[in-house]
Symmetry: C2
Subunit: 247 residues, 2 copies
């Protein structure tokens, strides 16, 4: 089956978590809004959103067409792909645990987004800079250590070893964790430099992912989108920690 | 099996979505943090969070113990309970669709929370009142119509009729929708009075839920917690729309 992924063409955003899973699975897919031609492009994405014949309309991108299914919500798409492509444990307990971690990452990603848009997504960052500074201060001080500390603990406690968040094999949540760590380094380089000794297992996990052959090929391809200041992970120096002279 | 639900004892919060599903299922459960005695109370909830022997630690309440499983993330708990108690379709497409709607409701609930805590959950509302007013203005004007309009459309498009969000039978997402609509009326009474003609199907759905015999018994019992200004849905008149003289 050839999947069709629908997501904004200019940012990695939430679509990237789906792309990483599709790439690691070696699945055939079309990144519809990034292709040109008939039935492609952003127009096709918008048409899919507005399609009144679809009884299961997405609220927002990303959404994935898989045969007759139209699936939205990033974590839901990964739940589906994980089961189909061996990117999650087969047993119910493992499946739920992987999904639980993905939902917790989704919560973290929402907070990352709110660092630059605390008042609302409909306003520009430039119109909410003072609020963003206040939000980012508590995010750096309390939320980042809480979330990353949690995932470090999950790695440490994994009965099958510290190389994966779930069990003894790579799962979609490892791929998502890589994307989050990479995004955090892009958006908050000084903060991450200060914190890096606290999360050795997370950093090691995230450093191993680009060595996966299919991920390596993907990262080197034009299919991979770079972070930029239109996405979820944005680099605004005023929201990052201050540079520390030495550690 | 007797479930153990762990959630803060003083607010409906996210725990309420789980309670409504357990009650409709007629499931046996203990609401641990609200009970007194050995192994009960908030101390038991905190111990469960900190339990270093649990390889699947929750990031935050609610979490549910089901035999050997410890499941966290509200939507994940409902995914599990829905399959077990006939509160979601059995087929994959229906199961994913129900979960997708629940995740979209979870996104909306996060935004409801942010109306009074736009700068961060670690600060008091009193310390972020100007930001909250700004957030709430765009929430009322753009986000509420976007989310409620979406769910109204989902009801209208349901090929099995407009009585349920999914298929021809009650599912956990109908119960969650009831809780959200009830919470919105508590938190934003003037806004909801202004909007109510736009969402006849959602309002009808939400009005039918308390007539379900098990839900009726639950709502009349001391197990049901009232909304209050410590929870997600809070009534701050300054964040609501202004009262309109006539419509």
């Amino acid at each position: 089956m050839r999947y069709q992924l629908y997501y904004w063409p200019s940012i990695p955003g939430r679509g990237e978590f789906v792309r990483l899973a599709l790439e690691q699975a070696g699945a055939e897919y079309v990144d519809v809004a990034r292709e040109k031609g008939k039935g492609m492009g952003v127009a096709a994405l918008m048409r899919g959103m507005a399609d009144a014949r679809n009884p299961h309309p997405p609220f927002a991108p990303p959404y994935l067409k898989a045969g007759k299914l139209v699936i939205a919500q990033t974590a839901n798409i990964l739940l589906y792909l994980g089961a189909r492509h061996g990117l999650a444990p087969r047993d119910e307990a493992g499946r739920l645990w992987t999904h639980q971690l993905q939902l917790t990452l989704a919560d973290f990603i929402n907070e990352v987004h709110d660092t630059h848009h605390p008042v609302g997504g409909s306003l520009y960052y430039e119109d909410q800079k003072p609020e963003a500074r206040r939000y980012a201060a508590q995010f750096r001080k309390e939320r980042v250590p809480k979330f990353l500390g949690y995932f470090e603990r999950v790695l440490k406690r994994n009965p099958r070893g510290t190389r994966h968040l779930v069990g003894a094999h790579l799962s979609y949540v490892d791929l998502s964790m890589f994307q989050v760590m990479t995004g955090m380094h892009y958006a908050f380089p000084h903060l991450m430099a200060q914190l890096r000794r606290r999360y050795p297992l997370l950093i090691a996990l995230s450093n191993r992912i680009p060595a996966q052959p299919r991920i390596a090929a993907y990262l080197a391809s034009p299919r991979r989108l770079a972070f930029n200041n239109e996405g979820i992970f944005r680099h605004y120096p005023e929201l990052d920690a201050r540079k520390t002279a030495r550690r």
